[in-house]
């Protein structure tokens, strides 16, 4: 059926070794998580720093992107 046959010409598909990818994934993963935390949850359920300024500023986006806001 859909077995790989040797008749099809082998297209070489590149792949990126984990060793090369890991530092990028770790570094940007942390930055991304940090940004998403401030947009999605800060000063709602937990507050770092205390206050409502961040919550208020991203208020409409938080509602419309589907995060629990208040």
């Amino acid at each position: 059926m859909s077995q790989v046959t040797t008749a099809t010409p082998e297209i070489e598909i590149p792949s990126i070794p984990l060793r090369e990818l890991a530092p990028w994934a770790l570094f940007f993963g942390l930055i991304g998580a940090f940004i998403l935390f401030f947009i999605s949850a800060d000063q709602g359920a937990v507050s770092i720093p205390a206050g409502t300024a961040i919550h208020e500023w991203v208020h409409d986006g938080r509602h419309l992107l589907g995060f629990p806001c208040h």
Binding site: I13, P14, L18, L21, I31, G32, D60, G66, P68
Partner: protein, 261 residues
């Protein structure tokens, strides 16, 4: 095809997606956010059904009153949220695509990138939305924000982990049983996990007598916002990765030709 190439393209795709998402959210979502805030002020003001109009001194938000004006919230504030979410998600989707490159069946780079974006939309946006849909202002008890936030992110985590597991399952199955069976089984396994999780997790119903039409317009606007965000990231990144691969293949072909002379 390096992580850097992917990340740069993902950030660009995310920036474009953030701008377009702002436009869609502003047009499709803001009218119902405003309508919901009117309901909220009417409720928090006077007794019940606006018997006296002098009620809304407790202006839109929370105890201390609003620090940021509605005008700013619906424009610059919304743009901040969609723009930074777009850039963050664009980068993450790009690095996930870099990892998927050459690791999912025999998909070409643009195909595996499109697949990552599509599965990301389903697992990060759509499935959590179906269990815990977006709520407009005035819906939701402020006392339960902690538990509602936890439940939302637990559902999100289950969905994303189940999707990763489903892709790994596909990889195990597809050489032995073929693509059709492998997709069928792994998609079924993902659905089984998220349906079970959604059935077991608590239901949130704090809508009260909030008007149904405003709620529906808000949720439709919210879903359009999320679809735009993920859709544009997926489409732009797929195009950019396809172009990158074509260029690199052409360079490689020229090198091979030169070497053979």
């Amino acid at each position: 095809m390096t992580p850097r190439n992917f990340l740069v393209r993902g950030l660009l795709a995310g920036l474009i997606a953030g701008l377009l998402t702002f436009a869609v959210a502003y047009i499709a979502g803001e009218p119902s956010v405003d309508a919901a805030i009117k309901v909220e002020s009417a409720e928090s003001g006077g007794g019940h059904h606006h018997d006296d109009g002098a009620a809304a001194e407790h202006s839109h938000h929370e105890e201390g009153g609003t620090e940021v004006s509605r005008q700013n919230q619906s424009t610059w504030g919304l743009l901040t949220a969609t723009g930074s979410t777009g850039i963050a998600l664009g980068g993450i989707v790009a690095l996930a695509s870099a990892f998927a490159l050459g690791r999912i069946g025999r998909l070409r780079p643009s195909q595996s990138t499109a697949l990552v974006a599509a599965l990301g939309f389903v697992s990060v946006a759509l499935v959590p939305f179906i269990k815990y849909p977006a709520t407009p202002p005035a819906v939701g008890n402020a006392d339960t924000i902690g538990s509602r936030t936890t439940q939302y992110f637990v559902m999100l985590a289950i969905s994303v982990l189940a999707m990763i597991a489903a892709v790994l399952l596909f990889r195990k199955l597809h050489e032995r049983f073929g693509t059709y069976t492998a997709v069928l089984v792994s998609a079924g396994a993902y659905l089984a996990v998220v349906i079970l999780a959604a059935a077991l997790m608590p239901t949130v119903n704090e809508i009260g007598d909030f008007p149904a039409d405003t709620l529906w317009y808000f949720r439709r606007g919210s879903l359009l916002t999320l679809a735009t965000l993920w859709g544009v990231i997926g489409i732009v990144l797929t195009g950019l990765i396809g172009k990158l691969y074509a260029e690199e293949s052409a360079t490689q072909a020229r090198r091979d030709l030169a070497a053979s002379l």
